[in-house]
Symmetry: C2
Subunit: 554 residues, 2 copies
């Protein structure tokens, strides 16, 4: 009986999961929050675009959560830690870390300990929005192929924007950094005892989706292009990497020091690091025709298309990268910059509510019929990742009266995220990627039947829920099990180790009809405020919302 | 030493005020809420457009509040109730009441006691929005002069819309009503003991602003026009009135029965009834060049122009009526359908806050610089009265992020009402009515220095606050004092009896500059959603809000 260990680095905490390879049974799990900052995130009161994390937190929390998961697994008869045959790691991304020549994160070195720019630049850091816009501009002019694969817009959430912003605003940190390593590559490299950044095995997932890496043009962007940004970035290219790998490759073997700290067998293989949602997609059973939505603070959508097929670039889609999710497939990623974060903002920040208010508003909102509130919102409180790829967009709510309740607004915000989800599905289908089945993973999918039903009604697709509550960590464990030779390939490992829950949410015709009307109004606002339509007629929006309200409340 | 009694019927309560004629000193005041419904308003859970009041409440509350005010005044040496020389009454409007042939409000008659349609149709009842639209349509085609004086749009808040809606939806009530009397006319008529609706002295104020009355076309709309609505309305015309009066006329003399109930001298003159804000304007010192804003649940703006001048019709302005406010002047009325009501909705309904939260949010919001929140709102939670005259518009909020606070939204809502106020000032100035000075009356003007400063910064005008907290009741008392012969005319009565507070709010140049930018964005939304511009470019709205935010928070 063999076991696999999956480690999932989220935005606020890290989770370790011990899984039985034969059937995917989860024997032990443990979550540990990052001790620094606000819920693990270092913020700057003067700039709400800033979001960093202290890299030392990743290591102390890792030790705690792995030991916790092992302790829990040990309660199951037949479990032995030395039968863990591999480790898989997934993390947020793009979350680049400046490291010194010994692969130490700068933020863990005394001199840089307090400097925010020397820490990990968390995915949701948007300080580099100007740099992102400039990269988009330069690439459009000089290397259109670079950004064609990421929806024609390079994001402020990504690798080069962040490093360039560091160079422009904190030269000392940039100069002190020998290299920059994605969190998803750095953790495996630390576990493998890699002490030279040039030897860190880089995953194609972060490289391809966030760093403009593609084998077609010889890896990372050429020096000539990088020099247009800044010659210093061209210089950095040599200290990054020449090759990135899919999940058939290993990131290394567990070093003795970390084997001791984690109480695991030294030498077991470490799977190549992937971004959380990509391993989450694997843990949710991704296959051709299946869209996996990992719904959390934000939402990531993953789809795969066999690498043998011809996939067109899809405007507005974050990335199409060969090997990024499943080896042998193009990985397609899209997403919404804020989903759970919007609900949390509404309930905790605006309504100043506690955990109980979630339940109360859920109940109240669920009792409303689609369209009954007369409200319509745009889900852009953290910008729009797909399909507009514009972080400089903001939230909008229309249709409020003197009778509008907080529960109605809560529901309107959920509906807004569902409309955003529909826009993504329609865009990728339009470009030939079929979406026959949707599997949702993440806490919200399990906790909110209302949200799932709204998503089904809005998108017109049956929504399923991933069998595991820890799909990302499970996917990491699946990857480690394949790498360790427990399965011949990913599909057979997924068949054995992953599942969906029995509950299904099917579109209801009447709700679907109302949401079709609302979706047209949503797209009107979307196109007008998103700059797709610069001569939009919104004069009927408020009136149609009232008409829909009248038609469903009679 | 003579005294005057002003009675002010608000949306939730009635107030009596005893004033010394020589200097306007307020000797006694008393407020009594209407006992029925929710805060005095009868609602219908199934139709949020509906707002009615039980007319019996007006009479029981009147007796209580007058007695209360007299009791308080009696504490002042020299006061005697028999030295009250006149009574003035102001009320909300258009609030028509169906009455029987004896001038009894139907709602007070046992048979109709429980029928919502037999009650007073409160100003903010919008059930007749379809009828209003149809009246606008018919008038535009057949009698354009009728609606030219009320901004080219007849409102669902007004006399004919409401009566027609009653006829269409509750024929029994319509048939039982011998006539319909505005609340501002009905209360004086009751005090004067009038028992025949045809003998009720009607004020030009409600007649001209709400019932399409104008001497130019022979009073109320002609029968031919009314027949286009419904022949029954043409029939009703004979049972309404042929002539309406300005405040030089008397509504009658206090009858014995009511003199006994109120403990006043029988036979003292009763001033013609006016709508609350019109007497409020008089109580705030209205004169040519002075705009009076009565800021309450909604806001009414009043201006006057000498009747000798030529005043053009002003598109979007609720009404221009000769004699409506001050005798000898055109009265110009504009307004915003919800102001205090929006703040109340935000704090009490959405934030579920109590009285203390007003203070907390006020303090937090006041600490923010103009533009710092990145937010922009439309103040249309109860439709737009001026300058779009469209009750089928709703509220909008744009610019929210995951960091937006309830206090920032509170401030954005206040700013939205300020932008709405500016749109009104710019519209009337554009048509030749000068606004040199703004005097604000109502509780909000006194309680919120933040709001007053925002209004000054947004409109670019110095804001003053009416000296009396009870400007409407004071204006009623002024009218009664003039009618009773205590002063030779209104200006001399206003000089003696009214004042402004020492505090003044002056526009600050930096804030003004920021608000000018925001106002342009506000007008962009206003014109797009209000139907003024059907090919609007809103693609820069969110970006400009972020730019403004950046520029003021650096």
């Amino acid at each position: 009986m063999n076991f696999s260990l999956g480690v999932d680095y989220g935005s606020n905490s890290v989770r370790a999961l011990v899984v039985r390879c034969s059937d995917g049974r989860e024997l032990g799990a443990c979550v540990v929050g990052y001790p620094s900052g606000k819920e693990g995130i270092l913020l700057d009161g003067k700039d709400h675009h800033l979001a960093r994390q202290h890299p030392g937190d990743y290591l102390t929390a890792l030790e705690k959560c792995v030991r916790g998961a092992l302790a829990e697994a040990a309660k199951t008869k037949g479990f032995r830690a030395d039968r863990i045959i591999g480790i898989g790691v997934d993390t947020t991304g793009s979350s680049p870390i400046p490291v010194d020549a010994a692969n130490r994160a700068l933020g863990t070195v005394a001199k840089w300990r307090k400097n925010l720019n020397a820490q990990c630049w968390l995915w949701k850091d948007h300080t580099s929005w100007r740099e992102a816009a400039r990269i988009t501009e330069l690439a459009a002019k000089h290397r259109p192929q670079f950004i064609a694969k990421c929806g024609n817009t390079y994001s402020s959430e990504w690798f080069w924007s962040k490093i360039w912003h560091c160079l422009k605003t904190d030269r000392a940190v940039f100069d002190a950094a020998y290299s920059w390593v994605e969190l998803s590559d750095w953790i495996p490299s630390v576990l493998a005892g890699v002490t030279d950044p040039r030897e860190v095995r880089r995953g194609i997932c972060a490289a391809g989706h966030k760093a403009l890496y593609c084998d077609e043009w010889g890896g990372l962007p050429d020096k000539k292009f990088l020099s247009m940004l800044d010659p210093k970035l061209a210089g950095l290219r040599d200290r990054l990497y020449a090759k990135a790998h899919d999940a058939t490759a290993s990131a290394g073997a567990l070093c003795k020091a970390w084997a001791g700290r984690l109480r695991l067998r030294a030498g077991i293989p470490i799977a190549i690091g992937e971004m959380d949602v990509h391993y989450g997609a694997i843990g949710s059973g991704i296959a051709e025709g299946t869209l996996v939505k990992v719904i959390g603070t934000s939402t990531c959508d993953c789809a795969v298309v066999p690498a043998t097929k011809n996939v067109a670039d899809i405007p507005g889609i974050c990335g199409i990268v060969k090997g990024a999710i499943l080896p042998g497939f193009y990985g397609i990623e899209a997403g919404q910059s804020a989903v759970g974060d919007i609900f949390k903002w509404w309930i905790e920040t605006v309504c100043a509510g506690d955990a109980a208010l979630y339940g109360r508003l859920e109940k109240e909102a669920a009792a409303k019929a689609p369209g009954a509130s007369g409200l319509l919102a745009l889900d852009w409180n953290n910008g729009n990742r797909t399909i507009l790829v514009d972080p400089m967009l903001t939230g909008l709510l229309v249709g409020t009266t003197l009778h509008t309740t907080r529960a109605e607004i809560y529901r309107a915000l959920i509906e807004a995220t569902a409309f955003g989800a529909r826009a993504i599905i329609e865009r990728i289908e339009e470009y030939g990627v079929p979406v026959k089945r949707v599997v949702c993973a993440g806490g919200i999918a399990e906790k909110s039947p209302m949200l799932m039903q709204i998503y089904a009604d809005v998108t017109g697709r049956t929504m399923q829920v991933a069998g595991s509550s820890q799909a990302c960590a499970l996917g990491s464990a699946v990857s480690a099990a394949v790498l360790a030779g427990e399965f011949r390939d990913f599909p057979s490992a997924q068949k054995a180790m992953t599942s969906v829950k029995p509950v299904q949410y099917k579109p209801r015709p009447a709700a679907r009809k109302t949401y079709n009307r609302l979706y047209r109004l949503y797209m009107g606002l979307h196109d007008a405020f998103g700059g797709v339509n610069r001569a939009s007629d919104l004069s009927r929006t408020m009136k149609e919302l009232l008409e829909i309200q009248q038609s469903v409340t009679k």
